[in-house]
């Protein structure tokens, strides 16, 4: 078992998250899939940090986490305010760009 297994796992999880974004309609669940994608990237970073022997990868993963936290905060606030006005949290509601 080599390190590349972690990377493969991370890739698979990333893909699952991506498919989830495409398939789910509840905005919050979509958000959660995005979080999954971010996490898988974090795993990749940490694996490469270990492979290269420096801590830089872990620092990057750290920053990713912080930014993800900020993003979740703001995003959920947005979803809440949208829900208040629209009474629906479906992603499909934003279809004004329809032809």
């Amino acid at each position: 078992m080599t390190l590349s297994w972690y990377l493969v796992l991370a890739a698979i999880l990333f893909t699952i998250g991506a498919v989830g974004v495409l398939v789910r309609r509840n905005a919050i669940v979509v958000f959660m899939c995005v979080e999954l994608m971010l996490n898988s990237v974090n795993l990749t970073l940490v694996t490469f940090a270990r492979a290269n022997g420096t801590v830089d990868g872990q620092i990057m993963a750290f920053f990713v986490m912080v930014v993800a936290a900020a993003e979740v905060v703001v995003g959920l606030a947005i979803i809440m305010s949208i829900y208040r006005t629209r009474r629906s949290a479906s992603v499909d509601d934003a279809n004004l760009l329809k032809y």
Binding site: A18, V21, L22, V23, R25, V91, A94, L97, K98
Partner: protein, 632 residues
Amino acid sequence: MVPAEGLLSSSWLLIALPLAGAAVLLRGGRRTDRWGHLLGTATVVAAFVIGLLCTIQLAGLEEKSVGIDLYTFISSGSLEVKAGLLYDPLSAVFVLLITGVGSLIHIYSIGYMAHDPGRRRFFAYLNLFIAAMLLLVLGNSYVALYVGWEGVGLASYLLIAFWYTRPAAATAAKKAFIMNRVGDVGLALAIFLMFSQLGTTTYEGVFGGVGTLAGGTITALGLLLLLGACGKSGQFPLQAWLPDAMEGPTPVSALIHAATMVTAGVYLIARSAPIYDLTETARTVVMLIGALTLLIGAIAGCAYDDIKKVLAYSTVSQIGYMFLAVGLGPVGYVAGLAHLLAHGFFKAGLFLGAGSVMHAMDDQVDMRRYGGLWKKLPITFATFSLGYLALIGFPFLSGYFTKDAIIEATFDRGDTLGYATGGVAVLAAGLTAFYMTRLMFMTFFGRPRWEEGVHPHEAPSVMTVPMVVLAVGSVGAGFALVQAFPLSEWLSPVFGEPEEAEHVIAPLTIGIALTVVMFLGAFLAWLFVGRREVPVVAPVRVSPVTRAARKALYADAINESLFMRPGQWLTRALVFFDNRGVDGAVNGLAATLGGSSSRLGRTQTGFVRTYALGMLGGAVLVAGALLAVTAG
């Protein structure tokens, strides 16, 4: 050719005066209605006076060929195109004919069109015609001739359709113009040929250089000019428009379609004598066309009941005589022109007389409705009879001398062509006598067959005086032109000294033969028409010859099937192709674009998830490409 001095240098006034008259009357509009006819007549009379004086001056000159430079049309490098006039005996003769007969007809029209609200417009168009015709005969180059040629075509169209609200008149005008156009193509091609081969279109230049051209080119020139002449003069195969042109007012028929415009073709061929002298083939074709046409006209004239149509076919036939004459070569030009001048007098007189009859009979043209008019219209009867006698060639009247000269010259050729065409001409003379006598019987003699409410009365003097003048000309012109003041001498500067030809058949024999044939024709007419009661309704069961003659030897039917139907099919096919093909292609393209754009537009669903799907798809492609690149 000498440059002009004195009055001759102002001979451009001949064209300018009628043209100014036309312009004033057309631009002036209804304001000029009260005196428009007087102005129109005055310009033409003034032109006649000037023409007379110019001719007198010309007669006194040594070199009887005067050139008047008007202005330089194009001056660029080595190309110099000048516009100018040529006053020589030939053009002088025509100027006098046009302005003289034209003045008389203008005076006649004052009375004839007195009750017509469009009288001013009529005179404007007549003036326009006179101006264009004068330019035609006075121009010093083929291009100037062509300008006048087109101008008379336009005037003819405008005048035939003078009562334009009548569909028949409008159709006849269109027909005339289109058939003229066919002929004009020939003339235009001839001019192009001249210019390309000789670099000039002036008479001087062309006649000087024509000797250097190849024989085939000269023959082509001759035939093309002949085509133009046939169109304008109503010769076979373009003769069908002339009878239809009778839809126009009678003064128009008299002036344009008897005396002047239809003689433009003869003028063209006469003027182009130096070209025709060099090509035997073209001359032969001219003769054949002339002979054929004179026979067609004579046959058709026998079967019509419309007085004007009979006279129209008579015109066609007589111009055939003129073509026959000018096709003979140097000896025939003078004879043809003499007949042309005589014909101008008596045919115009006949038409004016017919107009007087129509005026008296409430514009009725059907001869079956005439009869017994000699008592009611004495002056008309007298002038008409003189014109009639002149036309059929009664001894010592004008037609006798001129027709005699032509047939003499034809027989003098001595070959089969000469005998054949001469024989045809003699036969046609008999037919001419037949149909004209028939016309006389039906119109002036017999029991009156008038319609209800018709009271024939003599025309006012403004109409009868011109008729009398023309009758005098009908009587005396022939003698004057052939014997007393020989036209051949007057025209010798143009055509050369008259030769004494070898007479194959003695002239007296021909004269007697013609007279015999004439009396025979008249007698037959009395036998079949004058002796019996003229039925008011044309009999239906007639011989095939009569039926064919009534249809003018099926000329219209042939034209329709040869040209009109294929033209209509072609038009329909083109319209179909345009609608389905071109429009279909364009509309199809538009529809394709619209359809595909709307279909493509459906990819914009507006849903975020669709776009995200696209993004993932793109990412897959990128990853695949990356792998392909690194692996490969």
